[in-house]
């Protein structure tokens, strides 16, 4: 028995006071988590900005190709995964389990693709000599540290999301999870999406040659 279901519907047939926001606990909790996680990311990005401003020898190594192009492709992939997620939530709402599941898998696949592209990007950079405390261009080593930490945390969220999506997709088909769970996962996925919208310009575009 899933806890999310515990209060799947608001109002509870008059047994409970309605939530002032009229949303189930699962969603509410996810929104809270998103809020808290957003603060975490802003803290990291603040640190990144703080160090960037503080380093006179900050290096901006990203060439248009391959880095920026790759980044753009990743952005496109992640954005389209947002759309498929949306589709799956809509389908779930409308009660089309099969369709919802298909869209979930699509999102899952796109997420995985994003992760793969990201890891390839990482490998290229590491081969170039970048690292948490290494800078082949001789500039401030903070760049590598900040880059790998920020993108690493985001990548962690993406990978976690991919697994969550897979689990939900399997359970949703078998009726183990309901549309609320799909929506909750959706909230998370869109958040991961949104974070990238900050990470990409701040970490990639701002550090383009």
């Amino acid at each position: 028995m899933s806890e999310l279901e515990l209060s799947a519907e608001t109002g509870h047939a008059g047994l409970m006071e309605g939530s002032p926001y009229g949303i189930p606990s699962g969603k509410l909790a996810m929104w809270c988590f998103v809020l808290s996680d957003a603060v975490t990311f802003s803290a990291l990005l603040f640190a990144y900005g703080y160090l960037r401003v503080g380093s006179p020898d900050w290096s901006t190594p990203f060439l248009f190709s391959p880095s920026i192009v790759n980044g753009l492709v990743m952005t496109f992939v992640l954005l389209s995964s947002g759309l498929t997620m949306l589709a799956s939530v809509e389908a779930a709402k409308a009660g089309h389990t099969a369709a919802g599941t298909r869209w979930l898998w699509a999102t899952c696949a796109l997420g995985a693709l994003f992760a793969v592209l990201h890891l390839l990007e990482w490998r290229r950079m590491i081969e170039e000599g970048w690292g948490l405390f290494r800078n082949p261009t001789g500039g401030s080593t903070e760049f590598g540290a900040a880059f790998f930490c920020v993108t690493g945390l985001h990548l962690l969220h993406v990978v976690g999301g991919v697994f969550a999506l897979a689990i939900i997709a399997l359970g949703f088909r078998r009726g183990k999870y309901n549309r609320i769970d799909v929506e909750v996962t959706g909230i998370y996925w869109h958040f991961v999406d949104l974070v990238w919208m900050f990470v990409f310009p701040l970490v990639y575009l701002m550090n383009a040659k």
Binding site: S7, L15, C32, S36, V39, A43, L44
Partner: protein, 591 residues
């Protein structure tokens, strides 16, 4: 939809049988609450023992403390405490007390136990997540304790762990090895635990309130726990990445907090580009809200208990909620007042000083409301009530010294002196602990179904109340004299004359600490020998008193409570009794 939606307030899982599921890995918020409370008790005993050792050393620096060498051969050769060991004790005392006592007991402990009951729910919104939050916190505690035993000894950089001292590692001296790393790991884990807890509190308060329990009817304690969890949600979210960056600096060779050109033992370190101030910004952005995470639940608890013994409604409960909320809100804009002398732009000091001073307005209002509530009452002076009054007193005392430290000009002189120590111990530590005591004496009958011994309780109160003033009041005076804190011994010419005062404080601390064993004894005695408690021994109104003591597994025995009343209807004219339970449908025309 399943049964779930039909009767959400009723437990989804039947009461577990078998010790493990029932008492260890229990999903029952009451058991989890007790586990948190127990953890806090263990932690507070350890923390107090550490403070005893510290005080002894401050009074008599070269005094051998028998057996201390057994505890730490490196830290106390020949039973004489080394300065580095003093600093480790101080660091561990601060960390244990702030994180595992002040955050754990009044917030997670009582909150877990009573928040669902007070809103009329059968359990938290996410019982399993709730269980996880405790066990994660427990692991964090173990991680911290392990720092005592790892090579290199426990950390010495204080509970604020200022970089670079906390980030460069062994080379900066003893206590900066594995101990410091374990500290950072422990705090990072703790953040996760608190996050899970906060999510639960928020969801439960907003979604699981039983019928008729509108937000306006929530007890003040629930309000405080709710607001606290909102604060915690965002505060710990900043400490988490900060700790991760610190761990990376210590283990992965990054230099987030380490500038270039650091020289230890005539050797220059390879680090470059980092900023020690970055750590201070991240830490205090968490650190100041954390202070309120410690104190707000206590405020809620005593605001909830006081009316029950005043036998009259509290003065302006909604105003009080407003105060708590605004304190919580402001707590995010004032972190810089910890950094007045840190080398920030002097202009920002003024920016941070104003909101800090503004916080005193809601705090003052709250205090006046409590005092005003006492007016015109016929009070029942139970131990719980006495601790509430004590709380008002120490909170006032501690709050007022904040006026000094909030002003950069005065802080220039008083920063990092014992004046600061006195301030935060009064307003945060002692006040929060008083809240915890009040809660214990008030709620223990409900939690274990037995009454605590009032006589012991009152003795405990008098000794503690007088004791804390004897300990912390003198710290103001030596603070004014410029007595620097975090000194292992006082060898400076201008500090030597102050040592007698420290001896006095030490003696007071030992006695006050000893008095706490009365409390521990009382707890244990109550659990096993205490007289059975009635369902509503205090004649209180909120929902926790509408069920048996202790409550059944699903809190209300399958009943679906319906709330008809405000939270604190005491001494209502024309009512059948001198109080009206929230659940009673009795209607009295308001005078």
């Amino acid at each position: 939809m399943s049964e779930a939606a039909a009767h959400p307030a009723v437990h989804q899982h039947t009461a577990p049988t078998g010790f493990i599921r029932k008492y260890v890995f229990s999903v029952d918020h009451k058991v989890i609450g007790l586990q948190y409370y127990g953890l806090a008790i263990v932690a507070v005993v350890i923390g107090m023992a550490l403070s005893w050792l510290m005080r002894l050393h401050l009074g008599w620096a070269t005094l051998p403390i028998p057996g201390l060498e057994k505890l730490s051969p490196a830290g106390a050769p020949g039973n004489v405490m080394t300065p580095e060991y003093y600093l480790s004790l101080m660091t561990m005392h601060g960390t244990i007390m702030v994180f595992f006592v002040l955050t754990t007991a009044p917030f997670a402990g009582f909150g877990n136990y009573f928040l669902p009951i007070q809103v009329g729910a059968a359990d938290m919104a996410f019982p399993r997540m709730n269980m996880m939050s405790f066990w994660v916190t427990f692991v964090a505690f173990l991680a911290l304790m392990s720092a005592f035993f790892v090579p290199g000894g426990p950390p010495i950089s204080g509970w604020t762990a200022y970089a670079p001292l906390s980030a460069v590692g062994q080379t900066s001296g003893p206590g900066e090895g594995w101990g410091q790393t374990m500290w950072a790991v422990s705090i990072a884990i703790f953040c996760v635990g608190q996050l899970l807890g906060s999510l639960n509190f928020i969801a439960t308060t907003l979604d699981l309130r039983t019928r008729g329990m509108s937000l306006a009817r929530l007890p003040l304690s629930t309000w405080a726990w709710f607001i606290t969890s909102v604060i915690g949600l965002m505060a710990f979210a900043v400490l988490l990445p900060a700790c991760i960056l610190l761990i990376l600096d210590r283990t992965a060779g990054t230099s987030f907090f380490l500038p270039s050109g650091l020289v230890f033992g005539d050797q220059m370190l390879p680090h470059s580009g980092g900023s020690p101030l970055l750590w201070q910004h991240l830490f205090w952005f968490f650190g100041h809200p954390e202070v309120y995470i410690a104190i707000l639940p206590a405020i809620g608890i005593i605001s909830h208990i006081l009316p029950a013994f005043l036998r009259k409604p509290p003065l302006g409960p909604r105003v009080l909620v407003g105060c708590i909320a605004s304190i919580g809100f402001l707590s995010y804009m004032v972190w810089g007042h910890h950094m007045f002398v840190s080398g920030m732009n002097p202009f920002s000091a003024i920016l941070f000083s104003v909101p800090t001073l503004v916080i005193t307005i809601p705090a003052t209002i709250a205090t006046l409301l409590w005092i005003g509530s006492v007016y015109g009452s016929r009070m029942q002076f139970t131990t719980a009530a006495l601790f509430c009054l004590g709380f008002i007193s120490v909170f006032t005392t501690g709050g007022l010294s904040g006026f000094f430290l909030a002003q950069p000009t005065i802080d220039t002189y008083l920063h990092a002196t014992y004046f600061v120590v006195a301030h935060f111990h009064f307003v945060m530590a002692v006040a929060a602990i008083f809240g915890m005591f009040a809660g214990t004496y008030f709620w223990m009958p409900k939690m274990v179904g037995r009454m605590m011994n009032e006589t012991l309780g009152k003795i405990h109160f008098w000794l503690t109340f007088v004791g804390v003033y004897c300990i912390f009041m003198p710290m103001h005076y030596i603070g004014l004299a410029g007595n620097v804190r975090r000194y292992a011994a006082f060898t400076d010419n201008f500090l030597v004359p102050l040592i007698p005062v420290h001896k006095f404080i030490t003696i007071a601390a030992l006695l006050t600490g000893a008095a706490q064993f009365l409390f521990l004894f009382n707890l244990i005695w109550t659990r096993f020998r205490g007289p059975k408690a009635a369902d509503n021994p205090w004649g209180a109104t909120s929902l926790e008193w509408s069920t048996t003591s202790p409550p059944p597994f699903d809190n209300f025995g399958g009943r679906q409570l319906v709330v008809h009343q405000e939270a604190y209807l005491y001494g209502v004219e024309g009512a059948s009794a001198d109080f009206i339970m929230q659940t009673s449908s009795e209607t009295v025309e308001k005078p």
